[in-house]
Symmetry: C2
Subunit: 170 residues, 2 copies
């Protein structure tokens, strides 16, 4: 999984959006001229903050576009997962590639393309791909937002013992 | 094309997002519990402000979610088109169903699923479906945004005479 620096990805995105139309290649499931950047530069060592096999593509965000939101595409390889985290800003997600799972609070949802997931403020969540094909989703967030935090020891314990979430809490 | 009032669509969206997961039915290309609302209540009679066969689904917006953006899904039936308009807020669009065309400034792009289109501030634009199947796209906007305006007489004349845009300016 080739990943580029934020600066390189930003420059590529700027060029792509300057052309107004960013064509998509369905064979590669990639956008012309857009490159993946590191999912997280440093996630921290707190329980649940580990992650594996996650690519991030920015599709639009300030200051490249004058907007109050950012649109990103995340892709999780088979056996991959994002960090188990929470934050005050919300996520609005649309699955677009393959299948995957969303842990949101004490629920775990199985996702198919075009399913929508809403992650409310301060609700612990994690995206997982226990399937054989890449799992990809669009995620819209406020451009100005707080940093992700680990779940609290009480939340960790509660998620680790809840039958629905337990298999995905590590 | 059944369309619901803003109030009815809002209530349905609120219920759907309260369940956190909004499953999608690929056969109908619709989300469970979400209903279409009128694309525009009154578009005005200025040149280009006509439209035809456009459905709008809100997937998330304040005050239902605490965010500074709104995510919508628009679907244009064969031979349909949105109004030719401009505004200061930007659009970030991801095509997701069928094929369609985007007029943005003096360019016309042919869109396939997952193509991204950026509409910069105050650039005239229109979405069209000259194809046989429904054309659908996701569109992210700032929640607080200015109202669409007709293009100016000078822009109208320029778009009407530009070889690329002329067929789509009416």
């Amino acid at each position: 999984m080739t990943q580029w620096s934020v600066e390189q990805a930003t420059e590529q995105l700027q060029r792509a959006l300057a052309r107004l139309h960013v064509p998509f290649d369905p064979t590669e499931f990639r956008w012309e001229g857009l490159v993946a950047r590191a999912y997280k530069e440093h996630a921290g060592d707190a329980p649940g903050m580990g992650w594996r096999g996650v690519l991030r593509f920015d599709l639009g965000r300030p200051p490249i576009i004058p907007a109050q939101f950012a649109l990103r595409y995340f892709e999780i390889e088979p056996e991959g997962y994002s960090s188990l985290e929470k934050h005050t800003h919300i996520h609005l997600v649309v699955a677009v590639r393959g299948r995957g799972k969303a842990l949101v609070g004490t629920s775990v949802f199985d996702l198919q393309p075009m399913d929508v997931v809403y992650v409310p403020p301060d609700v612990p969540h994690r995206w997982l791909n226990p399937y054989a094909e890449p799992f990809g989703f669009l995620c819209v967030v406020d451009a100005e937002r707080d940093r992700p935090r680990p779940v609290s020891p009480e939340e960790w314990e509660s998620l680790r013992t809840h039958p629905e979430t337990a298999p995905w809490v590590f």
